[in-house]
Structure formats: C-alpha cells, structure tokens
Symmetry: C3
Subunit: 333 residues, 3 copies
C-alpha cells in the first residue's frame, strides 16, 4: 500500500490536506475495502498497538465504526465514555488525555462538543515529544475529517471502484443541503470537494447559512473563484447536480427558533424524488446519519438503492478509518 | 460437530423448532461445554466475523453471556447500549440495524422491550438479500429462545451428560411457576418442553395466568392433549414434578395491582424446601435470574446444590450461545 | 519471572503482604515494564482466560488500566457497569459475582463504594471451593491495593530501575498529605511503606486525620515505633521528605463541612514549588489521580517532570496490574 509518502502524524482537519494525501487515503481505503469483502476480515497491521476511543461527546455510530476499524487491524481498543468518567471529578481534558498516553495508548480517537479539543490534545502531545497520534472524530462545529474522507471515498469509488482518486470529481457539481452553519460535516466536505476541483453549491435557509459563510470558512485565503456558491433556495443548488449531500438537522435547532417547523423545512429543503428531477439523471444522495426520515430526505428515497448512497457511506466509513489508523499507525516503527 | 443438517438462518422463536434442530443445538452445546472445561477456552471458529450485541433494552447478564460466547469463538464483538445511542436522535430501529449491517456485522444479537423487533429486523435483512443473521435475545413478552434452549440443555445434560437429547424429557413432569403472562422465558420454555413430550404444568395467580392462556399461546393449533395444564394454585403443579422452573417476578407488577404483596406471593407461589416435598425426591429447581431472594424462591434453597440448577443454567448459557453462534455463523461460507 | 514462591490467590489488602510478596510483585512488574516498551506490547500469558471487571462504583482510569493489563496478557475481558446492571433489579452482589463465576470468569476485578465487598466475594468463592481469584480495585474507604503497589513500584523503580525492591525505601521519609481519613489509597500506602522500613508522615487538617487514626489502622497490633507520625500541619511532614504523596480531595467533603474552602485547603495543604523547598533537593511528588489542579497540587508543579511522578504512576499502573493478573492467573494450571 502506498504509505511511503505519508508523513502526517495527526488527522485533525482537512483544511490543509494535500491532493497527494487525499489520494493515499483513497487508495489505502480501496485496499481495505477489498479485505472487508473476504470471509476473514482481519489484518495484523496494528497488532499490539492500543487505540483509545475518547468520546467526550456520546456517539454510537462513529465510535462503533472506529472500534471495528481498529479491531480489524488487530489493535487493542479502549473505550472511554464521558458519562462514567473522571470528567465529572474535576479532571481537565488534557489530563485525561495524558493519562491515556501514560497507559501506553498509540492512537487517540477524540470526539468533543467543543471545537478545537482534538487540536489542543495533539499540540500537547507534540509539546511532550511523544509519538501518540490524534484523530479528530468530530469537534463541535469545526470538523469531522473522517466523515469528509469517507464521503469522498464513497463518491470516488462509485465513479471508478478500481482506482478512486481526487481528480475524478473535477468539474462535478455537488450540492450540500441543510444546516450548513452548525455542521462540522459540511466544513470537512467543503475542504475536500474544493480541493478536488468540484463545484460546491451550498443551500440552506438564511438562518442556517449566513451571507459571510464563505469568507468565514476561508478566513484569510480568497474564496476559490468559480468553486463555491451560496443559495438560500434549494432549486439552483440541485440544478444539474451530480451529487446531493444532505446534512442531519439537529432537533435542538427548532427550539432555538432557527426554523419554522420540521414540516416546512422538509417542504423547502427536504430531498424528494420529485426535486431530484432537476439534477443529473444518475444523481446520488448522501447523508452522514442518523437520518430523520421525512425531514432531510423522504423515506422512500432513502431506501432506494438507485439514488441513496447512505449504506455505502457506512461501509466506506470502516474502510476509510482502517486506512487512517493504518497510515498513522504504520509510521510508529 | 453435527452442523450438516442445520439450515436455520435466524433464531427468533422456538415455536417452529424441529426435534432435529433441538438435538443439534444440544449436541453442539455439549461439545462446547467440554471446550469450556479446558484451560484455554477458545476456538477459532468465528475468527474475523463480527457479532454486534444490539441491546435496546439494557441487560448485563444476557449481554455478557453472548459477548463471552462470541469471544470464545474468536469473533470480534461490538456492543450497542441504547442509552448512549442514536435512538435518542430520532433514528428508526431498522435504520440502526442497517447501519450495523453496512459496517459489516455478520450476526446481530437483539434485545428489545417490544415484541417482534428481532423478527422485523430479520425480515428486513432477508428482504435486502443479505447474509446477516439475527438472534433474538429477548423481545418484550414474546420469546427468549436462547434462554429456553439453555434451560433445555441444563435439564437434558443433567439426565445424560454425555448425550443430551430431546427425548430424555418424554413423560417428565415440569412445573413452570410465576408470572407466566408477562414472561418471554415461559413462552420459549413451553415450546421446547411440549416438543420434547414432557408434561408442562403452569402455576400462577389468576391475574398472571388468564384462563385463555393456552389458546392464546397455541393460536390456531390445538392445545396439545395431555401435555399442558393450567393451575391457579401451586400444589397440583408441584405434585410429583421432576423439575420446577421458577420465573422472575418483575417488581413493577406490584404497582400495576396484579399482586397483593411480595410476602403473600412468596407464601402462595414461592418455592421452599417444604413445598418441594410434594415433588419427585430428586427434583431440581431452575430460575432464569436475576433472582429476588425470598420472593420466587427461598434463599437457602437457591444456594443448595442438591436442588438448585441456577448456577448450572448460567454455565450452560455460554455453551448454548456458543452453539447458536457457531451453527448460524458456520453457514456463512 | 519469579512466580515460584507466589501462593496468594486473592489480592484484597496489603495489610498482610509479606516482604517477599512485595518483592515478587516489584520484579514481575519490572519485567512487564520492559515488555511495554516494545512495539508489540502483548504476551500470551493469560490466553483463553477471562478477566471480569465488576465496577459497582464507576471508574474510568482504574477500569481502563486493568482492562489494558488484561488485554496485554491476551486475556478476554468482560466489563460490568453498575448503572446498566441487574443491581437495580434486586439481585444481591454475591449473586452477581456467582453469575460471573458460572459464566467461566477466572479473575474478578472488583470496585465497590462499600468497604469489604471484595473480601466478601472472595470468601464466598473460597467457600464454594472454586479457583476464581478476586482483585480489590478499591473498596469504600478500606483499601486500594493495586494503587499502593503501583506507588511502591513507581518509587522503587526510580531509585533502582533494574532491580526495584522493598529495602530501597528503608529509612526514607515519605509524607502522605490530604484527606487521610477517607482515603483507601492512604491505607494501602501506609501498609506497604511501613513494611519497607520507611518513615511515614501523615499530614492533614484535624477533621481529615483524627488523633486516634494510627491506633484505628493498626487495630490490635502496636503502632510501629519510629515509623508513623501524625501532623496537623504540612511543614513538619515535608521537612527533609524524600517523597510526597498527595491524595485526591473529594469535592463532597466540602459539603460535609469538613473543610473551610478549596482555596484555604490549597493554602494550608496544597503542594507548591515553594513548600517543596523544605524537602530533600531531589524530592518527588505523587498523586493517584484524577487531580484537582490548584487544589491538592499547584498546576505548574504537576506538569514539571523534575518533581512530578504522576505520569509515571499511570504507566506503572499497567505494569503492576499485569504483574498481579499474571501472578494470580498463572497459579491456575
């Protein structure tokens, strides 16, 4: 597998991922996808290494996916659930991370409701001069890089299963629909899609997609010309789209008065078979899950394998996380 | 091991188990019982396969038993705890199951407080044409087949440890005592005991054992003649009984005004050394656990190895669950 | 490894540990410390054995440490979390333990908020004549023997990494500072330090260190002459100390009116760089974690590797727990 050029020690964000790095992840994940189709789905790559899942914010789906990826690489796993932890005992997050470091953890997979926690832990590890790696499994509204990479892998493997690579998306039109403002998934996807040369069309109600969003994302860099578009209506985003990425709508947005009602949201921004008529004929729909059926996407569309890539995304998730653990873990010789 | 004739893909209920299937489970469990007596209690049968324990209803005992059974077959295990799950995030149960399917789960062990959930998931898996198997680990007041099978194995191995088989129970009198109405354990036991040719005597207060219970269980089929008896008093059920199966009394039955008091319940239906005088001299007592000491069974009787099979049931549980996982998992070549 | 003379079946308390036993644990832990520095940190010593972590009182740190120790010895692990358990279903603790026994558990690691629970379970196992071992992972305010042993190992390995042994502490002055009265860690440390021939100086406010404490600990035995000293001020305990063991301050002590305020506690008994001036020049500070930064110890001191052994303690914890599991588990041939 093409690990020779991989030098990244932590995976915290896709903002500074290079085209070469994307391609190494895609190719490594493709190799593991092949392993997963065998009857015995294990490889001894990380035998004797310890992967600690430090989920300060609870999650079943992402935690199970990382846990399974680690087990299939023959690593030992430790699960940390915030609810039963020392966090309630006054320990700082950095001290918790350092405890797992001192126990001999090789890779820390970290989810936290505050943006920046995985970065802070990675910085502390580097300051201490230790070889432990940090994988961001979702931090606040900041990033969810493994989700961005698995979405990328899902799309690219659909186009060319034997050789998924970034350039396959050049010129494709991809709509991202929903609660852009609060979505770490959207942020990670924007980075990878822009890097691929795709056209990214964001669509959401104004409360969930402020005018200044593009500048906010790209900070000091110029917004890439001809690559990022913002819409307060769904139709222009769907027009001739090759892929539609829907985002999960957090119910708590309702109580914050950012939305009129789930029903109205579905009417305006929910993806249905009828609305997909505007897209390319072979358009595909993605969703990071868990899905609120009938809100972000109509129930029948979600179950239609002709349109929905949702199951595919989950399967890709294990392969992509195996790839990330493998690329990072193999550096530890 | 005698797997050649095993064709069942899911284990959801004992209602349609054949005599041959019971015997295959009993013989396979006997082989694993022997493995468990060795110092190294592992076999590589399910290496590389993934067993997901999806416990929508919490349970320590049954989950640990299935987890240990899976680990001893060298499978990888994933635990899903409803409390920290996406269930609270609006995802449907079928979508949760399909997520674990997409991750690459081979066998799903499912417990849910609603009857029929494991069946619904199994049907969906079959509809999708995938090879994943579903094991019912207790659904509402419907069935708890692995408990029924481990009770059967416990009794049959006592009678003939070298060759436990269904016919050993022919003509035996077995009393099932307690909250029959709400018990999934009772339902699964009734199926296996009736199939064995045993005489099954149910005993409970009228509120916990309605008159129409037998018809309710057997639905369109005729109640088997001379095999199932209903009593609203304990004594006739115990008279000359070979085995007494006590059921767990859910404390919440009290608040529903189905019982006068725990003390009165114990006086009328609790099993004590004195009451066992009516039974066969070598009578044995079973209980699925966890036991309310001094309610369903007197504390001294529970601890008396001459009468109690309770510890034996727990040990049998691991062997029987290994057998089920093995029989189902080996079909996946 | 020097297991030939090890005969202890349970580890419940350090009160009756012999000098030879301390030395066997220290030497075995040193061997495992070496294993942990390798890339593949696993040994097959306990393959096929089952270690059940029965944590009736929640804990992340100690549970993870025992779990990792067991996995590195290639044991299978089962985790029991009190919150989702049968405990809420009326089952007694002994019945829960007997259930895990019947499932085939080889070693039970037990934490409970009541003192004496691990002893009671160990007695029951011995009464039943079974080979299962019990490791006390903290019981109420009684003992936390694995913590006492890891503190001992941390100190002794610092003095002579190649050959850590009890006699290295003879004549050393060791201060134990903080909530002595409620601390199971303090009790376990007092036993091992007294056994080593060290001078142990306890320092705490009078509410957390009653006058009769020494007699209370040593019960019928005489308080060892010239080995145990009690101070209601910090300074005499620190004077020329070689090691300072700080204890965790439970926040709930505040609400019980045993302390004026955290700030005042820190001023009087918190360890700072300035206060360490009274100690030996190469003094080291320990804390069992999790630390309330700025309460028991100043934040900068905690992070200073010249003084703090806190990270070292966590690493030692895995090695010492591997040693205990190994010594106990290897007896089961």
């Amino acid at each position: 597998m093409p690990t020779s050029t991989w030098t990244r020690h932590h995976v915290l964000s896709l903002a500074d991922f290079t085209a070469a790095e994307y391609d190494i992840v895609l190719q490594t994940a493709a190799s593991f996808q092949e392993v997963l189709s065998r009857r015995t789905k294990k490889v001894p790559a990380l035998q004797g290494q310890v992967v600690a899942n430090l989920f300060f914010e609870p999650s079943t789906r992402t935690r199970s996916s990382f846990e399974l990826a680690a087990k299939r690489l023959s690593a030992d796993t430790l699960n940390f659930a915030a609810s039963t932890s020392s966090m309630t005992k006054g320990e700082t997050i950095l001290d918790t991370a350092k405890t797992y470091l001192a126990m001999g953890t090789d890779i820390m997979v970290i989810r936290h409701k505050e943006a920046g926690v995985p970065n802070a832990i990675a910085q502390e590890m580097d300051r201490l001069g230790v070889r432990v790696s940090v994988l961001n499994a979702g931090d606040g509204q900041h990033e969810h890089p493994s989700q961005g990479l698995l979405d990328l892998f899902t799309i690219c493997s659909l186009i060319d299963p034997a050789n998924p690579r970034l350039e396959l998306l050049k010129g494709k039109k991809i709509a991202i629909v929903g609660d852009i403002l609060h979505s770490r998934v959207a942020r990670s996807n924007i980075w990878s899609l822009i890097a691929s040369g795709a056209q990214v069309h964001l669509a959401a109600p104004p409360t969930l997609l402020p005018k200044f969003f593009a500048e906010y994302i790209f900070e000091d860099e110029p917004v890439p010309p001809g690559q990022l578009f913002i819409h307060w209506e769904l139709e222009p985003a769907l027009q001739n789209a090759d892929f539609v990425m829907t985002l999960r709508l957090q119910k708590e947005r309702m109580t914050a008065h950012l939305l009129p009602s789930l029903r109205e949201y579905h009417q305006l921004f929910g993806i249905t078979r009828a609305k997909l008529q505007r897209c390319q004929p072979n358009v595909k729909v993605l969703h990071p899950g868990p899905v609120n059926r009938g809100v972000e996407i109509s129930s029948d569309l979600m179950d239609d394998p002709e349109f929905s890539l949702i199951q595919s995304q989950v399967t890709s998730g294990v392969a992509v996380r195996m790839a990330l653990l493998y690329l990072i873990g193999s550096g530890k010789t």
